[in-house]
């Protein structure tokens, strides 16, 4: 039986987003998964079919941590893997991959003086130069590390309410991508009313406890008996249990959001600043994302914002709450994807879009329900280019996207060296 190792040394959300790759490999052989030691309990819950290898990659490289990695490497030396999928463009994971024959390693390989990338990874890096046009979800990026990955529709269950009330993720790791607490309070209050006053669970780590207290102060007193503050109180199994079966999950772009999508919980996500639905949106059918779309976005979280996070302004408007109530109404009524596309949705303020997630042959493919998308034609062109490169059909030939003038896009998408050198070359 073939044996595969996947190294995913990034954090919570990235681990969940490796699912398509892992499931694709699980159908072909024995899957081993190397993750940071702190994530192994979560990995065990998410991917029970995988044999786990705990790494010490986050935090300080203390003596104990280095010893752990040395023991893992010693174990790997004695194992034969048919392929090793290194998901991270990282010196640390590349160094770990030095125990394997270079041609065994997929994605990112160690090289003298650094890390080399596969043609697919290089292309994705090129796409990230113009993020507003890039149409590739991270789940599909990693999924296509494997030849012919599984059908994207079979990765996560379609979103469906489970009768366990409303979940609220208080904030993401990057604070700029989260709704300010007063805005979040209005969103929660509206959702509470639209869902008929269900139980509400506040979710987050210990770092979000102050935000939870602040949110509770902003909520109407009559709501409080229904609200359970779980921030800082859940380990990984308890978190998964708290998210399972929710009717809806209100969240910024977070690991908990990806966990919700993994479980088929209807996600109501608010993406602003550096968060970009087309890259890291919830994976699966039937989730909803309100995406801000200023000309300066999506931005780099690490760079200071010269506009005082003005992209968040449309999220403070009353139109957002009307839109939210309409979406919750359709979730309760079980409106189909086609029905959602045909429905007339409440208007949104300028700079805000409402998307419903869906899938095509390539993977995640959201539909715009409300708002304007100035980059739609270009994004379709890029998506068709990606589909053709993967020998997939994203949409019928001769469509509007195929007819788009591409003089501006082609030099970006096609690199001379890609066709001047033999395929499969890492550099």
């Amino acid at each position: 039986m073939a044996k595969f190792l996947v190294i995913q040394a990034a954090r919570f959300g990235d681990l969940v987003q490796t699912k398509r790759l892992l499931m694709s490999l699980a159908g072909r052989g024995e899957v081993h998964l190397a993750v940071d030691a702190g994530l192994t309990p979560l990995a065990r819950l998410l991917f029970p079919f995988a044999e786990l290898h705990a790494l010490a990659v986050h935090g300080k490289p203390e003596e104990q941590a280095l010893a752990r990695n040395a023991a893992t490497l010693a174990r790997w030396r004695g194992m034969h893997f048919d392929a090793v999928y290194n998901c991270n463009f990282s010196g640390v994971t590349a160094a770990l991959c030095r125990v394997f024959e270079p041609q065994t390693v997929r994605g990112y390989r160690p090289a003298a003086g650094g890390v080399t990338r596969s043609p697919w990874a290089r292309l994705a890096f090129r796409l990230s130069e113009r993020r507003a046009l890039a149409p590739l979800n991270l789940v599909d990026f990693w999924g296509h590390f494997a030849e012919a990955p599984i059908d994207p529709r079979s990765v996560n269950p379609a979103a469906a309410p489970g009768g366990q009330g409303l979940g609220v993720v208080l904030a993401g790791r990057e604070s700029r991508r989260s709704l300010p607490v007063p805005v979040l309070a209005e969103v929660v209050r509206t959702a509470f009313g639209a869902l008929g006053g269900p139980r509400v669970r506040l979710l987050g780590s210990t770092a979000e406890k102050p935000a939870a207290r602040q949110l509770l102060r902003h909520l109407p007193p009559k709501m409080l008996p229904m609200v359970e503050d779980l921030s800082g109180k859940t380990d990984w199994p308890a978190l998964a249990a708290a998210v399972t079966g929710l009717d809806a999950l209100i969240t910024p772009d977070t690991g908990i959001m990806h966990l919700g999508a993994h479980l088929g919980v209807p996600v109501l996500a608010f993406f602003l600043s550096s968060a970009w639905l087309h890259e890291t949106g919830p994976y699966g059918e039937g989730h909803h994302v309100w995406q801000t779309c200023r000309a300066c976005g999506p931005c780099l979280e690490s760079a200071p914002c010269p506009y005082d996070v003005a992209c968040g302004q449309p999220l403070t408007q009353v139109e957002l709450l009307r839109s939210l109530a309409a979406v919750l109404g359709q979730i309760k009524s079980g409106l189909s994807s086609a029905g959602a596309d045909a429905k007339k949705w409440p208007q949104l303020p300028a700079g805000l879009q409402l998307w419903r997630t869906g899938m095509d042959a390539l993977g995640a493919h959201p539909s715009l329900l409300a708002g304007d998308d100035p980059h739609a034609a270009e994004r379709r062109y890029v998506r068709n280019f990606l589909a053709a490169r993967l020998h997939l059909s994203a949409e019928p030939a001769g469509s509007a996207a195929a007819a788009l003038q591409s003089a501006d896009l082609d030099p970006w998408l096609y690199n001379d060296a890609d066709w001047m050198l033999p395929p499969g070359r890492y550099c």
Partner: protein, 122 residues
């Protein structure tokens, strides 16, 4: 002997599976009576691979390799100018950059681009 023998430039890749195919094509076209010249990209292969032996970081190496490929592409153009071929037959992975392809197109100089590789791997 064809009624109108053509001047044909066969552009070989520096290395890879298309290289022997390119040589077969050149030989066959010559046997048909055409005037065939071959762009011997393999002569430059050692210089190209030598860049990887310099011990530079991958990003710098990739940049130098791209620059090297442009030089090779210019060498193809020099040969085109000298021979003025009716047809440029480029094998898969032949060192023809975008700007050279554009230069070949509008001047009325016919060219064919034979792709033998698997596009999904580019």
């Amino acid at each position: 002997m064809p009624a109108a023998p053509l001047r044909i430039l066969v552009v070989l890749p520096m290395y890879g599976g298309s290289l022997p195919i390119g040589r077969y094509c050149a030989s066959a076209l010559g046997a048909l009576g055409h005037s065939v010249r071959v762009f011997e990209a393999p002569l430059l292969h050692a210089g190209f691979t030598g860049l990887r032996g310099l011990g530079l970081a991958p990003a710098q190496t990739a940049q130098l390799e791209n620059s090297f490929l442009q030089v090779v592409s210019q060498a193809v153009w020099a040969q085109v100018q000298e021979q003025e071929p009716h047809l440029v037959l480029a094998m898969a992975q032949a060192p023809l950059g975008r700007s050279l392809l554009q230069r070949l197109r509008p001047g009325g100089r016919a060219h064919g681009h034979v792709v033998c590789g698997r596009p999904r791997n580019i």
